[in-house]
Amino acid sequence: MKVRSQNRNWPEEPDERLDQALASLGHLVPSAGLGDAVMARLRSLQAGTRVPIIRPAAAVVRRRWTWVLSGGYALSSAASLALLATFWTQVVQFGTAMGWVTLDGLAAGWHAVVEGVANSAATLALQGLASLELLPLVAGATALAWLSMMISAFGIYRILAHYNVGRKQVHAIR
């Protein structure tokens, strides 16, 4: 019993070599991206989904890819809008040069469209384009406009999602 009572107050016997060795112990460094991985998992909990372990390196790669994707969306949106604008400028210039459409007519047509009137100069202009077998081009341009709108919308969504815009971050997590 005496031994037990001594055991309860073991002093740390100094030992130079051991203390030197223990003093050499420092903090170890985990892979980069732990914070990203933790926040990604917290967000998934916030969204009500349970995501298993995320490798920190993968989180870093994902974050880099988000930038690349967001940049890609922004560039493709800009390029498709520029293409669309160029196309319509060319159509109007060509039509004007040939006397098939007039700027006044287009302006009047736009005004009429705004007012909700269908049988305006714009309709006439479109009819003129159609009669000139430009309908496939018009359809193509419309499809392109639709596609570029979709790409732009998705790109904006991704960028906003990346920055968690409009989201309460931690309250909903727990």
Binding site: E12, L22, S24, L25, L34, V170
Partner: protein, 200 residues
């Protein structure tokens, strides 16, 4: 109200308050402050880099998800170490303990994996000879700690790496103070013996 631009100078308790208000930067700051100490504790417990990283991540997810249960009168570091230690102990209970390899994970299947899983010892910042000796000694002590019982390891790491007093270790590990003293005493004796045997 926004948190200060430099959260690095703010106390743990204040950062926790910001995190509780839903500030992501505050959550990241807590991870930044404690990722190395927590990873070091867990790694030295489980002796496997990837598992240690997984457990470290689990520790932070658990902690940040249960931040409301944190009591500000308790040190945040003690709270997070307690979660980390429990995670490591649970893992060890589920899985039989592996032997330590200072040169990398025992189940490393390539040279790269082995290199990545090798212990990264602190740079001594001394002369090349001193650094070499320190590295050798550091490797020896890491190897020796790997041979200790898990409960001894927690005590030794908290005592000698984190510098915790016995009383706090006892509180953190929920052990009687006498047990903590006994564990540290025995652990030191075992470490001494291992170091001596390595010298021979």
């Amino acid at each position: 109200m926004k948190p200060p631009s430099d959260l690095g100078t703010v106390s743990d308790q204040e950062v926790v308050e910001w995190a509780l208000k839903g500030n992501e930067r505050a959550c990241r700051e807590l991870v930044r402050r404690y990722e190395r100490p927590v990873f070091s504790l867990v790694f030295r417990m489980v002796r496997h880099r990837e598992r240690a990283e997984d457990l470290t991540q689990e520790t932070f997810v658990k902690a940040l998800n249960a931040l409301e249960s944190y009591r500000p009168d308790y040190k945040f570091s003690s709270w997070i170490f307690k979660i980390a230690n429990n995670a490591a102990i649970d893992h060890l209970r589920r899985k039989e303990l592996e032997t330590l390899s200072i040169d990398g994970a025992p189940d490393a299947d390539s040279a790269d994996t082995a290199r990545e899983s090798a212990l990264q010892l602190r740079d001594a910042g001394e002369s090349p000879l001193d650094e070499l000796e320190a590295r050798e000694l550091g490797s020896a002590i890491e190897r020796a700690i790997g041979q200790l019982r898990p409960e001894y390891r927690s005590c030794i790491i908290l005592r000698h790496v984190e510098g915790y007093p016995y009383e706090e270790i006892a509180e953190l590990l929920e052990l009687p103070l006498g047990t903590v003293k006994t564990y540290i005493h025995r652990a030191r004796n075992e470490l001494k013996q291992v170091l001596e045997s390595q010298d021979e």
